[in-house]
């Protein structure tokens, strides 16, 4: 494990009886980055996270968090880590403030001023009984606890479930601030839009296997772009049809449409010598990249 590596898994496997939830995942999370952990429900994200926390014992493979083994050195690992569970269940008959005090007792104290600041930003009333809070407000309490902890690594599993769009934006701001403060964020989600807005690198899971990894830009680059060009004069039809990575090329009068995978440079070179009237390239979002990856592996 290198100095800037905070978390690594090698060939992580987890079976529940006959169910193979995770089938050999390799991860490398660097210090100070926002690491997007993407995949649909049931792809193995939560199982991987629970192995990292030491709640599950891997069937095979190895995990190193801060250079430690989460099973053997669970307390030391969790001292440097804060976690928001995906399936969030909080105690019923206590207030948010009580819960903060309980967690503070386990973590050796919290910064009361920071707690109040976070409560204000997340717009959550810690005096209220947790039982009386909505799903979104309970989620805010859990987020408050995670951002309040003096932890090097924030592990957030589906953290925006139940949050309204305004709060989702505040959450992303908190993530950016955590990164700016040198903290590492492990952001597990199936909500692609929030990951692509904040993640430095992404790993995509499907059926317990990592099917792609890279920066958000790299994943987008691997996705197909929809090309729509209108020509003022005769179009360079043969050159367009011969473009590397072009599919579904269609010439309708002076309009060319197609789907391009890979670099857009060859297309731009062809168009540079042609009478282009207008052009539209629909930039792929991560969702498209995501679906393409699934299609490739299916």
């Amino acid at each position: 494990m290198t100095a800037d590596m905070l978390l690594e898994t090698h060939g992580l496997v987890k079976h529940y009886g006959r169910v193979q939830a995770v089938r050999g995942i390799d991860l490398a999370v660097h210090r100070g980055e926002v690491f997007g952990f993407l995949g649909p429900n049931g792809s193995g994200k939560t199982t991987t996270i629970r192995c990292i926390l030491g709640l599950l014992r891997p069937t095979a493979g190895r995990i190193s968090a801060f250079g430690l083994d989460p099973i053997r050195d669970g307390v030391a690992v969790r001292r440097r880590l804060a976690y928001v569970p995906g399936e969030l269940r909080l105690p019923d008959r206590i207030s948010g403030r009580n819960l903060v005090e309980i967690i503070a007792g386990m973590r050796g104290g919290v910064d009361a001023r920071r707690c109040d600041e976070l409560a204000g930003r997340l717009q959550v009333d810690l005096r209220r009984n947790l039982h009386d809070l909505s799903t979104g407000n309970r989620r805010k309490v859990a987020l408050l606890l995670a951002f309040l902890a003096d932890a090097d690594l924030l592990v957030l599993d589906e953290p925006t479930n139940g949050l309204d769009p305004l709060m989702q934006r505040e959450f992303l701001e908190l993530v950016r601030e955590a990164r700016a403060a040198g903290r590492t964020v492990f952001l597990s989600s199936h909500v692609l839009s929030e990951v692509q807005r904040v993640a430095d690198r992404v790993v995509v899971l499907r059926a317990g296997v990592a099917i792609a990894s890279g920066t958000v830009a790299e994943l987008r680059g691997r996705a197909r772009q929809h090309i729509d060009v209108w020509f003022a004069g005769p179009p360079p039809e043969a050159a367009l049809r011969a473009l590397p990575g072009i599919e579904g090329a269609d010439m309708d009068g002076r309009r060319f449409t197609g789907v391009l995978t890979g670099s857009i440079q060859p297309l731009l070179r062809v168009l540079a010598d042609s009478p282009v009237e207008s052009m539209q390239v629909q930039e792929p979002d991560l969702e498209e990249a995501f679906l393409d990856l699934y299609a490739e592996r299916a």
Partner: protein, 265 residues
């Protein structure tokens, strides 16, 4: 740390502790309220004398017209110890297996606390609740005895109710060991209560058979009440016979809980 690990779960069982205490207190008070009816009534004693000796023995109805016989037959032979054992099993189950399977432990298990300490703290909170229920039962027993003129040696009553509490703690510890090993709340509840009932049947029915009688001594109910604690001072070994396996079962649970996966919601 202890406040978070024991204090917080104890706070969570306060309401259950209150209701269990109310239930047992009502049972004890209402039962003793009828003592004046039975006191000195030869009719009831004569009716019981008509029953087969085995039945009288099985249901603890000997000397029903005396304070010790009345309390034993109505409360401390079966009902109070069983209810307290059920309370212990239910409280431990709620704090461990049930909370785990419902995902309520997830956030706490993700904190820098040893899993063994977290589970043990929850068992301790539940057993503390059992201790409080025991004390309240004892207090209500004394109050009701004074109110309704049931005269009996207070040290004997105290021993009996403490034995009930220790028997309950033993069943709670058994539930804890099961919860630590399996995290299956229905199994913990079913087996915990089942063991309490089987334990009672061993001491109630097996002595009726010469062949099976020796097996009755395997029951914790025999260790607790075999010396007739409302009549005779309880030997020290009986307290230890209940306390030691309780500690062993708590230790077993603490050891095994780290060797399995935490169940998810």
């Amino acid at each position: 740390m202890i406040r978070s690990v024991v204090g917080a779960p104890f706070g969570a069982v306060r309401r259950s502790t209150f209701w269990w205490s109310i239930g047992l207190a009502a049972l004890v008070a209402v039962t003793i309220a009828f003592w004046p009816v039975f006191r000195g009534s030869s009719g009831v004693s004569e009716a019981i004398d008509q029953l087969p000796g085995a039945v009288v023995q099985a249901f603890g109805l000997e000397n029903f017209g005396t304070p010790a016989g009345f309390l034993r037959g109505n409360l401390y032979e079966f009902l109070v110890p069983l209810l307290m054992a059920i309370a212990a099993v239910a409280l431990v189950n709620g704090q461990t297996a049930s909370d785990e399977i419902n995902g309520r432990l997830e956030l706490f298990l993700a904190q820098p606390v040893d899993r063994r300490l977290l589970f043990l703290g929850r068992a301790a909170a539940a057993l503390l609740a059992v201790a409080i229920i025991t004390l309240i039962t004892l207090a209500v027993q004394f109050g009701s005895s004074a109110l309704f003129g049931l005269v009996i040696d207070s040290s004997l009553v105290t021993s009996t109710i403490v034995l009930c509490g220790l028997l309950a703690a033993l069943h709670g510890a058994f539930a804890f060991a099961l919860a630590a090993a399996t995290a299956r709340p229905s199994a913990v509840l079913g087996l915990g209560i089942g063991v309490a009932i089987v334990g009672y049947l061993l001491v109630a029915l097996f002595p009726l058979s010469d062949v099976l009688e020796p097996l009755s001594h395997l029951s914790p109910w025999d260790w607790a009440f075999g010396g007739d604690p409302l009549v005779e001072p309880t030997e020290t070994w009986r307290y230890l016979a209940l306390a030691m396996p309780t500690l062993v079962l708590l230790a077993v649970g603490t050891i095994v809980v780290v060797h399995r996966d935490i169940a998810s919601a």
